[in-house]
Symmetry: C2
Subunit: 730 residues, 2 copies
């Protein structure tokens, strides 16, 4: 399936750099023009490597104890995108002359992006320039550019100069707290050399001591090396081709980056077509497992494919780092991983690519010691506190009330561990990592909370909704803490994990304490409204004056002081509604329904994480018109740039959330102790919905079709109720 | 009365720079050695001018909307302290040779500080060096140094070089959030010139555009100008004297600073002795009005004098700026004014020097527009929000949860206005400033709070206790807001102020709204404990684990993350107890007593503002042993450097608080609508307590003596009850 746009739109360059970026979980390359833009056209020209970061100062205005004053930042590595083209002496640029045709495409089956320009030079020479780019899923160090020029109406000299530039900086935007505020040079070139005709640049980050080697080798058709570039003779209709093989390696994964890069450069010996074939085969397998097919709505179907493809591009290739909020598509949020990974991207991947899901959890396990140190540093006597935002496992949030105070990150990781267990049944993972993660997470809950009038309470934390910070008994947090502690106790006594529990030194009293706290967990409930209040004081606050808030004042966070926002009932995103989505057994359907309606009225959806959750819960509750609306907004968020900041990178959480909304919302998928089940409710314009899931090592296709007023799953009528997938075909 | 220390202690140089600083409300000079210290001995060599500041960047780690990223900072102006002395070729320094005698003294009646050294040079020459310094209260631009050298056992050449150095920086301490973190150069020299034998340096701040001219003129006895200094012939027993007249003027008060400085330099024409005389006369009047006499405890008596003297030195000489937390004695808190002025320093000054109190309030009135803008900027639709810390009236707090969120600053200012009115009956002030201040303050309360179940609530603010931030219904804040609104409504309808109310556009409905909100104000009360909870959730939190907190972990703010601290019942300072102190009619004696005992157990007194308030309330409740202990700690805080940071400046709030504790605590002084009354309870070792107060323009002496188990006021027995001062002599 292909996502493409036609026509040359100079106003959306940065947006398209994001939408057409190439990534493979290790390496990300924004889709900048090889030839660059003229001055005055902004670009975020960048190549990024998962887990490769620098340390940057983050001075605190008032540096109180424990405030983080250094952060990690994703670095822009050496730029290997550059290719200059001269057509009979005229430099190619769609900004000059005329782009008679201009098309960009992402082929999600081939795993390549293309840019095709039918160009007329200022002097009237015409040529077709076709550029195909790929970040290899099979060989993650490899990025290729196939640069093909076909003269159309002239003969003469074609000159191509291909660059490798180590002198790069990161980008900045002082006006948006969601991007780094300053342009920074993070990497310095240590060596530039040519070995066997291949260019290499070795750079090192200025403070984190990470080295990156980027190599660029070339193969040509109809072009010959000459001086700093390649020269060929233009003949109308005859294509001249430069193949650029770029390899990237880093010192977090390789001891000697130059040697490793040379080894990876062996890729140059294989035909580009064989790399394309391997990419295609990889994606055939991916789609075989992951494709979701919406019948009857082609646009949505394309959007879903796009979202799934972006998730794959963003999903970490190993466990050196987690999934960043923007994947590898830009510098937004400085390349940090948040809860977006575990709670939004993870579930869809877990159901189809459990090996990726496992890698994501192993990143958390690899940084568990840092989380334990972090908890101790803050003042906790027990447990681990995971960082709200990080690349290497240490905390990077500069404003803790909507950062480090979001203790639910712990709960989210614990929840993901349990979900992984339920879907995979992977005993080995639980023995070696999962149980220990849960144990340290539960210990932190016990240390953070306390009993008050017989109820277990957790004070002074921030839930998912960032317009209400530092509250007592955030429903979402408490419900997750309950879940974490209950499961820790349960799993520690599960056959197969007992010896692991023993070697972790888990004592019976500790499990008893977890169970007691879970049992006694205070989950706020308001009798009058019949809803779960977001926290102890949420309902005591006045409702935000939405009527007198002009549209230009959204998102509110860019127009009101946080302490002012915090005084009102106004939510940036789903909070209680999200808790109801992930922990639906905690409350009655009526409470969920009332809560949904209540919070919907006070939620601005200023966060891209909000609508997918409202969609899923609306679908569950059968409010199909709302569910459908939320879904359309979610599915197209980046494609339509509806938050206005896709230039800075894709919204992986929103994309994952959209998949969750389809699976858990419309298909009504549930996975629990007893197995896997469905309770589908399709939007009116969906004729059918087909997807596959990998459950306990078995791949299974689910096809939901309309059947009268209800649905059928793989031919079995559901009658609007829950059906167990085990009882269905095949 | 003289405070003096003997002996040369090299380890307390910075502390003594503070304790012996000279200031007059306009100008402050730290008591650094004219000759400087050798390398390795830290100094905070500084001269400061009230209201003269620079702008410094204060980058926010995550710059959310409304976060303050620039601050004002007091600037160290050109250094006029420098005097080098050469005794027959040997440079004088008590660090070299031997200080056979060394004494420093502050004469609080003469208004001068002295340093006297009997010095033996490395080569055995002996001389007495006597240095007298004064910041003139009568002529605030003037600071003088009388530098007197008496050779004792030799003849030879005496050379003195007097300096004026514009190339100065501010000081910094990266480890303490209460001081600026970096050394900064705030002023650049614009001009250095000599006019009529007087040196002038004109400097300008780098960003705030404020100019300062410092002039230094000299007169001598036995010394003659020679080259860069002065030379004289030493004869045993014959004193050689250099008189240095330093004048300082600034462009916030003078258009042409050089001209103004030249004019002020006319002071040089008067004998130094006449300046001394004027100083003495000024102080005679001050002590006539302000002296507090504790009979039977000389140490405490001296400490009280010291505190009163420092308050006078710190009290603003005009309304360009308020009283900084450290007065003019150092760079702690960067010269900012907090609530310390209104709530701690103001009351003692109000009762004896009402004209100073008025100036302090006029500073707030002069910055009312900035406070209105601030409120609008944050999101408030009405009212004014005064900055938590400021020099020029705009907010400088970098961490708003324990900064700008302390809305009680508004209430404090409103309270001070009412106190001023009650004591002075100054209709003109109320017409021109006081009522408008109250109006804008009350409007902010109406805008910030809201009705919930019929009660008026104020959410999301921080009370005085900075170990509990961003809470709902802080008792202190709510009680003050009630007071403010009640008084605004009352005063707006008071005869004499009606026309002012009209011209301010106060409407009847508005007054009604103030009264209603005040009436409905929610003041948290816990039935079980019989106390006022500090806020809605204070009592729900677990008590801090004091038993397992080692002494080295105090103050807690330097050892625990704020979000961790906020989760516990632990107070940095008086909060509810302070509310009971200033608004005692709100609660029964029993509630106050129980509250006092409750909060005492969870208060660390990590703030220097805490113990004076606990003292006053203990005295009121008759818990005399506690009151006495708190008082001793309070009265001597700076003299004993018990918070370890007096080097950075005096604690004016603590000093004012100590006076309050004596007056309102031990003397039981009260001022309200009905007049002025006393209910004395003296500590066991006080034989008597005498003080004077200026009430409605009349100065009146109060003498409290022991009379059996009770007390007598001016000879009238109180029988432990309240007596009206109006009914007593004279």
């Amino acid at each position: 399936m292909i996502y493409s746009i036609k026509g040359f739109d100079k106003t959306k360059l940065k947006l398209h750099e994001t939408l057409f970026h190439n990534a493979n979980g290790y390496l990300g390359v924004r889709s900048c023009f090889e030839e660059g833009y003229p001055e005055g056209f902004g670009t975020i020209r960048g190549m990024y490597v998962s887990g490769v970061y620098n340390i940057a100062e983050m001075p605190q205005a008032e540096p109180l104890y424990g405030f983080v004053d250094k952060k990690q930042a994703v670095v822009n590595i050496a730029d290997a995108q550059g290719i200059e083209l001269y057509i009979d002496g005229e430099r190619f640029s769609p900004f000059d002359g005329e782009a008679l045709e201009f098309e960009r495409a992402l082929d999600m089956e081939a795993g390549v992006t293309c840019r095709r320009i039918h160009w007329r030079s200022p002097r009237g020479k015409e040529a077709e320039v076709l550029i195909k780019r790929m970040a290899s899923f099979v060989k993650p160090s490899l990025f290729t550019i196939e640069y093909c020029v076909t003269p159309l109406n002239f003969s003469g000299e074609i000159r191509v100069i291909s660059g490798l530039n180590g002198h790069v900086t990161n980008h900045g935007n002082p006006g948006d707290p969601r991007v780094a505020s300053e342009r920074r040079r993070h990497m310095d070139v240590q060596d530039e050399l040519v070995i066997d005709g291949v260019d290499y640049v070795v750079s090192a980050t200025s403070r984190s001591g990470i080295k990156v080697c980027v190599g660029a080798g070339h193969k040509t058709r109809g072009l010959a090396r000459s001086g700093p570039g390649f020269i060929g003779i233009a003949k109308p209709g005859v294509a001249l081709v430069l193949e650029k093989y770029v390899v990237v390696v880093d010192s977090r994964r390789h001891k000697d980056v130059l040697k490793a890069a040379q080894k990876e450069m062996q890729a140059l010996k294989s035909e580009l077509s064989s790399h394309y074939d391997a990419q295609k085969a990889y994606l055939a397998d991916f789609w075989e497992r992951s494709a979701m097919e919406i019948e009857g709505n082609g646009d949505l179907n394309l959007a879903m494919r796009f979202n799934l493809y972006q998730l794959l591009q963003s999903a970490p290739e190993d466990s050196v780092c987690g999934m960043a909020a923007k994947g590898l598509s830009g510098e937004g949020y400085e390349g940090h991983c948040f809860w977006d990974g575990e709670m939004f991207a993870f579930p869809a991947l877990l159901l189809t690519q459990p090996e990726i899901a496992r890698k994501m959890l192993m990143f958390r396990y690899n940084t568990l010691n840092a989380a334990i140190e972090n908890a101790r540093f803050i003042g906790h006597k027990n447990g681990a506190l995971f960082p709200w935002r990080t690349i290497n496992g240490t905390e990077c949030s500069g404003y803790y009330p909507s950062g480090a105070a979001q203790y639910h990150i712990n709960g989210d990781i614990g929840y993901a561990v349990v979900q992984y267990w339920l879907v995979s049944g992977d005993v080995e993972f639980m023995q070696n990592a999962g149980l220990e993660l849960l144990l340290q997470i539960s210990r932190l809950w016990l240390d953070t909370g306390h009993y008050h009038n017989g109820r277990f309470m957790i004070n002074g934390v921030t839930g998912p909704d960032e317009y209400t910070c530092m509250v007592n008994n955030n429903y979402y947090t408490n419900a997750l803490a309950k879940h974490n502690m209950r499961w820790t106790a349960k799993l520690a006594e599960t056959a197969g994990l007992a010896s692991a529990a023993e070697s972790l030194g888990i004592r019976g009293e500790e499990l008893k304490a977890f169970r007691q706290a879970a049992e006694a967990m205070y989950l706020p409930y308001d009798k009058n409204l019949g809803i779960n209040p977001q926290d102890d004081s949420f309902l005591q606050k006045p409702v935000w004056d939405f009527g007198n808030t002009p549209p230009s004042h959204y998102p509110l966070l860019l127009h009101y002081h946080p302490m002012h926002l915090y005084r009102f009932q106004v939510c940036k995103q789903a909070d209680v509604v999200m808790a109801h989505f992930i922990l639906e057994d905690e409350q009655s359907r009526e409470t969920m329904e009332k809560s949904f309606l209540y919070y919907e009225k006070v939620t601005t959806h200023d966060s891209s994480l909000s609508k997918p959750i409202f969609c899923a819960v609306a679908a569950k509750l059968g409010v199909m018109n709302k569910a459908t609306g939320y879904f359309k907004d979610s599915a197209n968020l980046d494609l339509r740039d509806s938050h206005g900041n896709t230039s800075d990178g894709i919204h992986t959480a929103n994309m994952g959330g959209t998949c969750m909304a389809a699976l858990f919302g419309f298909a009504g998928l549930r996975i629990n102790d007893e197995g896997i089940s469905l309770e589908p409710r399709l939007p009116p314009d969906w004729q059918g919905f087909t997807f596959r899931i990998m459950y306990r090592g078995e791949l299974r296709e689910v096809r939901i079709t309309r059947d009268g007023k209800g649905c059928a799953v793989n031919g079995v009528k559901t009658d609007g109720g829950r059906v167990s997938l085990r009882h269905l075909s095949p």
